[in-house]
């Protein structure tokens, strides 16, 4: 598997710069015209669709899907799992920054500007800095990771992520020995994220991991799915994916990564401390106060599957919690 030094480059979305001949480069005026044409065509189809009762805007506002430039390593994760349909993964989202209904992120997330994107790395690290997204990701090889995602609301999906192990990034920024936790923060900008105009949660959205959880090889920072860049509603341009925890731990559209010696207080814990804790490991034995977590509906199926401890990743992660009472530390 070839390792590209620069698998992720915002200027040359389709190919590494060296592979593009000048004859291939489209004149700016021409591509702007093309974009205008595509936009006009899209608007027309939205208009037509809106005239047809029942066609949701989410379908009408389909995103330009862009293949990730450069190689993506196969990781072997998720063999035998059948990914859910792209359509389902991109129109059924919990992303309260764009509305609390499942279809709202797909309809509203077009206002998010994902480029340029800066991630502040600070706290107890040797190399604090504001990183441009590319500088953050570039030094690491992108990998395919097909993971199960279990939402705390009792549904689940299988998603083919593209990302880098969080551990490789953390090693590069060098956490100090006193650092025990990693805190992540989502963008806070009601202009781009209309859902933030209402105080449904205490914005900005914050999540956290213990440092050993963050360093676990299963934990990734995802920048894509299906070999393409993340659609906005799925947490573009960069999000966390922690497959053995409930979905809300996998924070989206990250602008800050902070190393700390104090356990971060995550947004859902602030919102409802009796229902959502810091760990939020998938646990069929510990019911949510309002519903059982013993089963889940895999999107696309009727009968619910039994939920597996740590979402089925127990062999890899159970040792992180040896000796802990996971019903109390929910």
């Amino acid at each position: 598997m070839p390792l590209a030094p620069c698998p992720y480059n915002e200027l040359m979305l389709l190919k590494p710069a060296s592979d593009i001949r000048s004859s291939e480069i489209t004149d700016k005026k021409v591509y702007l015209q093309r974009r205008e044409f595509i936009r006009a065509a899209a608007m027309t189809s939205i208009g037509a669709a809106a005239g047809t009762l029942g066609v949701t805007q989410a379908e009408a506002q389909s995103w330009p899907r862009v293949k990730i430039a450069g190689p993506i390593q196969a990781s072997g994760w998720g063999k035998g799992e059948k990914p859910n349909a792209y359509e389902d993964i991109t129109t059924y989202n919990n992303f309260y920054e764009f509305g609390t209904e499942k279809d709202e992120p797909a309809r509203n997330a077009h206002t998010l500007r994902t480029r340029p994107w800066t991630v502040k790395v600070d706290g107890m690290v040797a190399k604090p800095a504001d990183y441009l997204l590319d500088d953050l990701i570039k030094p690491h090889a992108l990998e395919d990771r097909v993971y199960r995602l279990r939402c705390v609301e009792r549904w689940s999906m299988v998603i083919p992520w593209v990302g880098i192990p969080l551990a490789s990034l953390l090693k590069r920024i060098e956490p100090q020995t006193t650092a025990k936790f990693v805190e992540f923060t989502t963008l806070n900008d009601p202009k781009q994220m209309p859902g933030q105009r209402r105080s449904v949660l205490d914005w900005p959205y914050v999540e956290g991991l213990r440092l050993d959880e963050a360093m676990h090889p299963l934990t990734i920072l995802a920048v894509g799915m299906f070999g393409e860049y993340l659609p906005n509603q799925n947490g573009a341009p960069i999000r966390l994916v922690v497959p053995w925890k409930y979905g809300f731990k996998s924070i989206k559209s990250i602008v800050r990564i902070r190393l700390t010696d104090r356990q971060p207080v995550n947004s859902w814990q602030v919102s409802a401390p009796s229902e959502y804790g810091f760990y939020s490991n998938v646990n069929p034995e510990r019911d949510h106060p309002r519903w059982s977590q013993a089963r889940e509906r895999r999107i696309g199926e009727f009968l619910m599957r039994p939920t597996l401890m740590f979402n089925g990743y127990g062999d890899q992660v159970a040792s992180l919690y040896a000796g802990m009472d996971l019903k109390r530390n929910y």
Partner: protein
């Protein structure tokens, strides 16, 4: 056409058809596979909210009639109430099939006595264990006697006064329904809050009315004393 015939043959059918629109829309979207990635949850949520809306409209008819003097409204009370029950039944049905039935084990296959037993146990467990299900169940069950005694025949059989007393159960339906919704949502309580406010106003109106009435009834006694 007299006002009576106009209501019976024109307005009522229109209201009836209008009340079926949410159902038709759901059916249409179901037919086109356009009910989100999790259709059962979508149908459960949508039928639930429509139940509450129809309960609210039922509760609103009397106050609006009093305030506007538009007495013909009383003739829509039964129909709207029965539509609340209709949507409530759909809501409960999708919950039973999509949530209770779908989360069962089927050790002896689908068609087996154990399926029935497990289903009943699972329904009962949910009602006993989850407060929002408990109040939702109360809200639904409180509508059953109202639906059953909604005919003219039952009014006659029970006598107007008794019938009216029984039908005050709808106040419980409203309160339990709003509570069910409130306890169900995750963080965004703004919608349940709106329904709670409306139900509070509608019940408050009745309370104020009955207080006023009882004071009015007492007055001659005071004068006589």
């Amino acid at each position: 056409m007299s006002a009576d015939r106009w209501i019976r043959w024109v307005v009522k059918p229109i209201v009836f058809l209008a009340a079926l629109v949410p159902f038709a829309y759901l059916a249409w979207r179901a037919y086109h596979g356009n009910l989100t990635a999790d259709p059962l949850t979508k149908v459960t949520n949508d039928t639930g909210i429509w139940t509450l809306r129809f309960v609210v409209v039922t509760l609103a008819l009397t106050p609006v009639r009093r305030l506007t003097g538009w007495n013909a409204l009383v003739r829509f009370r039964r129909m709207i109430g029965l539509f609340a029950f209709f949507y409530g039944s759909l809501h409960v049905l999708t919950y039973l099939v999509g949530d209770r039935f779908a989360s069962l084990d089927f050790p002896d296959g689908f068609v087996a006595l154990s399926t029935v037993r497990n289903l009943l146990a699972s329904i009962w467990e949910d009602i006993a264990k989850r407060p929002y299900i408990t109040v939702g169940f109360i809200a639904f069950v409180s509508m059953i006697p109202l639906a059953l005694t909604s005919t003219k025949d039952w009014i006659r059989r029970l006598g107007g006064r008794n019938w009216q007393r029984i039908h005050r159960l709808v106040y419980l339906t409203g309160i339990a329904g709003v509570t069910h919704y409130w306890w169900r949502v995750k963080a965004d309580t703004s919608n349940p809050a709106v329904y709670a406010l409306i139900v509070a106003l509608l019940l408050g109106f009745r309370l104020a009315l009955s207080l006023k009435k009882s004071r009015w009834l007492r007055r001659p006694a005071e004068v006589g004393a």
